[in-house]
């Protein structure tokens, strides 16, 4: 598996390629590189990250800064599996504020209308009468405006597992790109750095744009991990043993 390449390395090598020889334009190039990384992550790399997030006292969880969309929200159980939470569009995004100005958790008391759950010798035997189908042990709602997840009271003082599509960026600046997409990023950066320059001929800009799309196509072909073995297995998935007559 090829290693990831630091964005710093890509930026420096492109500066050298462009004949800059000094790092005076490093910051501008770095900004373009971050845009390129996001672009490639959306289209090709599809980076899925998983993070355990601690629930705040007001029953919310702050979204990571590189969050684009979630793929799974749940709670990690001792058996090593993620128990997914249910989506509840009625969770209120407004919170009461205490005398210090801090948001407080919404009051969910008296909401559940189920009777009991039976147990024998301390072991749960089921029988949650009155509970509808599709019940989950906690609910969530995404509040994009405030960049957080709203949670129901079952999840207070705990943590949740968020699996999400990342834009590839990293708040501490230590960003990396899959080595297979490095050339595509370089092509993107070259195109973007000349795109708005009046002194660059239109043909050159067009060639750079085409180069970027071509490299992106190549990167997609490289990144997709589809082996002959996988193809073989899919082709034979419907073949089943049966008695021969």
């Amino acid at each position: 598996m090829p290693k990831d390449v630091k964005l710093d390395e890509v930026v420096k090598s492109l500066l050298i390629q462009h004949g800059e020889q000094t790092e005076h334009k490093y910051m501008m190039y770095l900004d373009v590189a971050i845009r390129g990384l996001k672009e490639l992550t959306f289209d090709i790399l599809q980076q899925i990250k998983s993070e355990t997030l601690v629930v705040n006292t007001n029953l919310t969880v702050d979204l990571p800064c590189d969050y684009v969309n979630y793929t799974r929200i749940g709670v990690c159980r001792p058996n090593g599996r993620i128990e997914t939470l249910g989506y509840d569009e009625y969770l209120c995004s407004q919170h009461n504020v205490d005398y210090c100005g801090h948001e407080t958790a919404n009051d969910f008391s008296g909401e559940v209308v189920v009777s009991g759950g039976n147990s024998r010798n301390g072991e749960l035997t089921g029988g949650w009468y009155g509970l509808g189908g599709g019940h989950r042990n906690g609910y969530y709602r995404i509040d994009r405006d405030k960049s957080r997840i709203l949670l129901s009271s079952e999840l207070s003082e705990g943590s949740i597992v968020l699996e999400y599509v990342s834009d590839g960026s990293n708040a501490n600046g230590d960003m990396k790109i899959n080595a297979l997409a490095e050339e595509a990023l370089r092509a993107y950066m070259h195109w973007k750095t000349i795109q708005r320059k009046s002194g660059v001929p239109l043909q050159e800009k067009e060639a750079a744009r085409r180069d970027w799309y071509n490299e992106k196509r190549l990167a997609r072909a490289r990144v997709v991990n589809f082996t002959p073995d996988q193809a073989w297995r899919i082709a034979r998935k419907q073949v089943k043993q049966s008695p021969k007559f």
Binding site: L7, D8, H18, G19, E20, Q21, T22, E23, H24, K25, Y26, M27, L30, D31, I34, S169, N170, A171, N172, G173, D174, M175
Partner: protein, 210 residues
């Protein structure tokens, strides 16, 4: 042996006076020093601008002056760290008059130049942190640093720059390419040669004698 500004001025003075220089020479050595400085800056700027226009960004090492162990100070008004430049840098595009800034003992990790005024432009962007690297911007005779630069533990910086010729000590080696020396001399000679040919009005009588 490296040439000094003083030597170049003496050479021009001798050429202007066709040999030994007497005390009553109308042209003073200090005047020539000034002309040599101006001519050197003009020629170097012209040469670098031409090469940059052709896409060649390399700055030749023989025009660079390096000053190490420069202290990092604190600007208590702006709440920023800064260093005093050892001289004025040559004004080039993208502040390329300053070639390199880093901790004295760590030249492999140079600070990244931030264009003056770009703090607000990049504020809130991921690139504003420059990947955790030290950054600086030029402001007059100082360079200010971003928050990744630390003044603790006796940290000092090394600054390599294309120094304005006026700030180079006349007795120190003059940062000028050897092939440019003759051009500087020729241009200064041309300038002062024409003034020597013009008669001087030596009587202060409110009448211009031509």
């Amino acid at each position: 042996m490296a040439t000094t500004k003083q030597q170049l001025a003496e050479q021009v003075l001798r050429l202007l006076n066709s040999g030994d220089v007497t005390h009553d020479s109308s042209i003073d050595g200090r005047e020539l020093l000034l002309a040599i400085e101006q001519e050197r800056d003009r020629l170097i700027r012209q040469r670098l601008t031409e090469s940059m226009a052709q896409g060649e960004g390399t700055i030749p090492g023989d025009v660079i002056s390096a000053s190490d162990s420069i202290t990092i100070k604190k600007d208590h008004v702006k709440h920023l760290l800064y260093s005093q430049l050892p001289g004025r840098p040559l004004s080039l595009f993208d502040d390329k008059g300053i070639v390199h800034v880093s901790y004295t003992a760590d030249q492999a990790n140079a600070f990244v130049r931030i264009a003056n005024g770009n703090l607000s432009l990049y504020n809130g962007l991921l690139s504003s942190d420059i990947g955790g690297r030290g950054g600086y911007w030029l402001e007059g005779d100082r360079i200010y640093y971003n928050s990744n630069v630390d003044d603790c533990c006796g940290n000092t910086v090394i600054i390599k720059m294309i120094m304005n010729a006026g700030d180079v000590d006349p007795s120190q080696p003059f940062p000028i390419p050897a092939d440019l020396e003759s051009e500087v001399i020729r241009n200064v000679l041309q300038l002062y040669g024409s003034t020597k040919a013009v008669p001087n009005d030596e009587v202060n009588d409110n009448l211009e004698q031509v």
